[in-house]
């Protein structure tokens, strides 16, 4: 029997980026906000100080900051005809937990999606015909929101993080040095781009010789000291090369800890409870209104927390599972195509190219999470897809996030994985090689979806989430085409040799790919084909809001976080300006 606690205005389920953003926005408006986080408290001086932050074994390979699967994991399979089995060890994606969550150990690669990315169905159908958006069981949709609507909120996130970069399109005027393909920005980046080491510089020179349009990767690894609108101060990145999968000891990487928490935690109307896992959103008998959430703490004590507004601000996979466990919305059925919750799960289609030199010292250990020179010539619909047989694209980045030797030693084609030959190749090539990342879109299909598992249960006795996923024909064609374009740049650098690491089917859970899981609680213009409206408000239960990349109807060829944050700010704005005055649906179904 759970104890009932004193009601609050807003309960946040999960306390990473979207929890921190929503908490700050709603507390500033005077609401009583409670955040429930299943993991522990974490902060720079105690948890990832510079004295011990650069520890590849502990953080990357022993998963020190990541979700511990012992109590809860998900089950996985490539297709409906297979039995899903538990992901027993993190691999393909590295789930966060704890305060700040993935916002602590992300790379801080800050991208805006293209204006056409928000119109995946209508734009591509108009330009390439109906087959382009339906062939191979594609189920892509428009987002129900435009780039123009989101632009002010992308700015808000840039100002929070102090994003370092160079605008390529300011109010419609193309700027030299930036990304000429991006949507119009109303302001320049808050801080200038990171300086580039040798590898990314060579990449940019070679790309330019081929007529491409290289520019420095926009990033929340700051190029110089910055004070954000909340008064939080960040320092200049030192290129230590321990960013992705690690916490930054130097206050140089934008995270909830470095940008929001010092401000938010001092607000008298904000409370954070850690080690508290929400099990269910409780509904009124007619299922039209949430009354609060039930959670259990690490001592096993159960509570009911009443709230006027419930915000799901956990990771994609947890938000979707909570919707399913709470009986909110109709679960998606891949056979009939009916239902919406769990529909259009998508990922990211990653491939890479390694380049090896004899005569050039690259020093790969000098790196940062988004230290790269990039071309965006073949992303989204920045190029003519006529006759190519796919939609979507990727950015290609000559990127050095670090030279951590357990993970990041590149050896030439044909080198064995062990023995003297491997050792000699490692010794010869480590300083003289680096990697291009080809960061491809992931189009949703009928058979890729999220549901509850019929067999496996978590430590609380609830069904685990089940993921059914494989790469689509569309995305593999895209990835092959993009890997060829990247190989052209690689060869133009005149290296001794290159190695293209192509993406193939079936999706494998073991090797790390990326933690960009999307969909399952998608946004749209109608409750018939989406879970939330453009304000991330659940159609069926209007006092529940579902944040995060679960709202993406399919994934674009960019890192998702800035779009996740912009959607949250957009949602908060509407909550404060309209919802609070008159609680109820913000869009009429």
């Amino acid at each position: 029997m759970s104890k009932t606690l004193k009601p609050v205005d807003v309960v946040l389920v999960g306390f990473g980026w979207t929890g921190a953003i929503m908490g700050q926005q709603l507390c500033d408006a005077g609401l009583e906000v409670l955040a429930l986080e299943r993991g522990p408290w974490r902060d720079t001086p105690s948890d990832f100080a510079t004295g011990f932050a650069q520890d590849e074994l502990r953080y990357m390979w022993r998963h020190h900051l990541f979700q511990n699967l012992t109590y809860e994991t998900l089950t996985i399979r490539n297709k409906v005809s297979e039995d899903a089995l538990p992901m027993r060890r993190l691999g393909s994606f590295l789930l966060g937990t704890g305060v700040g969550s993935g916002g602590v150990h992300w790379n801080a690669q800050i991208w805006r999606f293209l204006p056409t990315d928000f119109l995946t169905k209508s734009h591509n159908e108009k330009r390439y015909g109906k087959r382009a958006v339906t062939a191979g069981d594609l189920t892509v949709q428009d987002w129900g929101i435009t780039y123009e609507e989101l632009e002010p909120y992308y700015n808000q996130f840039d100002l929070l993080c102090g994003t370092s970069g160079k605008a390529g399109n300011l109010q419609g005027k193309i700027q030299s040095g930036g990304n000429p393909f991006e949507g119009p920005r109303s302001m320049e980046y808050p801080t200038p781009p990171l300086k580039q080491t040798y590898g990314p510089t060579l990449f940019g020179e070679a790309a330019a010789r081929l007529g491409r349009h290289p520019f420095p990767h926009p990033t929340g690894n700051l190029s110089r000291a910055y004070t954000n609108p909340l008064g939080a101060q960040l320092g200049a990145c030192t290129y230590c090369g321990f960013c992705e999968k690690f916490g930054c000891g130097n206050y140089s990487k934008a995270s909830p800890q470095t940008t929001v928490l010092p401000y938010l935690l001092r607000k008298q109307n904000f409370t954070l409870k850690t080690e508290c896992q929400v099990l269910k959103v409780e509904l009124t008998p007619d299922k039209k209104r949430a009354t609060g959430v039930t959670y259990v703490n690490s001592a096993g004590e159960e509570f009911f927390q009443p709230a006027e507004i419930v915000i799901l601000s956990a990771y994609v996979l947890h938000n979707v599972r909570l919707l399913l466990l709470s009986g909110i919305g109709v679960p998606y059925d891949p056979d009939t195509g009916d239902g919406v919750v769990g529909k259009n799960y998508a990922y990211q289609t990653m491939s890479s190219v390694n380049v090896f030199f004899d005569d050039k010292i690259i020093n790969p250990f000098i790196g940062a999470g988004a230290h790269a020179t990039v071309i965006d010539d073949f992303n989204g619909d920045n190029f003519d897809h006529g006759g190519l047989g796919f939609i979507g694209g990727a950015y290609i980045a000559g990127m050095i996030t670090g030279g951590r030797p357990i993970e990041m030693i590149y050896t030439p084609q044909g080198t064995p994985n062990w023995g003297l030959q491997w050792k000699h190749a490692a010794a010869k090539n480590y300083l003289r090689s680096f990697n291009f990342s080809i960061h491809g879109s992931s189009m949703s299909t009928r058979g890729n979806y999220l549901s509850l598992d019929p067999t496996y249960r978590d430590v609380h006795g609830n069904p685990m989430l089940r993921m059914t996923f494989d790469f689509s024909e569309n995305d593999l064609k895209m990835s092959d085409y993009l890997t060829d374009r990247a190989s052209e740049v690689a060869r133009a650098m005149n290296p001794r040799e290159i190695k293209a690491n192509r993406r193939s089917r079936p999706w494998n859970v073991t090797p790390y790919q990326t933690t960009h899981n999307t969909g399952g609680a998608i946004m749209g213009v109608s409750p018939k084909d989406s879970v939330v409206n453009k304000y991330l408000q659940v159609w069926d239960v209007p006092n529940v809001f579902s944040m995060g990349a679960g709202a993406f109807p399919q994934n674009a060829g960019y890192n998702p976080t800035a779009t996740v944050a912009a959607l949250a700010y957009h949602s908060a704005h509407e909550m404060l300006s309209r919802y609070l005055k008159q609680p109820g649906p913000l869009v009429q179904a």
Partner: protein
Amino acid sequence: MTDERESSDALDRTGVDLHRRRLLLVGAAGIASTAAAAIAVHDGELGGPAETIRGEMPWAPGSADSPPGASGSDYKYFKPAELAFIEAAVDRLIPDDEVGPGAVQAGVPFFLDRQLDGPYGRGDHFYLGGPWPKGTPQQGYQSRFTPAQLYRAAIEAIDKYVASEFGGSSFAKLQPEDRDTVLRGLESDRIALGGGVEAKMFFDMLLQNTKEGYFSDPIYGGNKDMGAWKMIGFPGAHYDYLEWVERHGERVPYPPVSFKGRPGWREVKK
């Protein structure tokens, strides 16, 4: 019923003093040291104390989550026959020569012993619940074994295989070429082992753990004298490369450094 005080055990971080007291209490209650208490706070997904944080950023003295490292020199997990297998195997995975140290010379067997004796060996961060049907290759690790159990079962199964195929010998006594043949057989899953051990699953774990011991910070017991880092040119736990960012093509001259510093920095004897 409304009850604002959710738990007698919940830690209220409104006051730092209370937090400090809690840490001491945890220590006194039987978890031997303050270091153990700190782990309970930091890596506390599994049963760290629930806390209510309000009014300020929490911080407490002595709570830094410094790395666990490895201590001692005796073997804690491997039995003598297992150690002989491990030395014979990792010596082939990363052999010694003039280019750089081999895995044995780098202390990888000791690293593996400490890893298997610790949280990793016990399956920390693994989900090991049932049922355990055989999965597809894409579904990854599908064993009931913890890593420590898998090593034990696999070494026994491989020695049994070697005894039957190589006239009663054990893996450790085979010539290097024959050891390579067996290792390749495991890597490609051509060798069928009994006892619930899948050959490739074990080989992949052994190779990964060997490279971890070879290239991780020496505080974990491998990478002796930072020999593996010297071999490739990795400077180790450096924190600031700003002055080298635009010095394209130059060798960074710093010798590698560990969390414990480097030879030439005098160790203070306690």
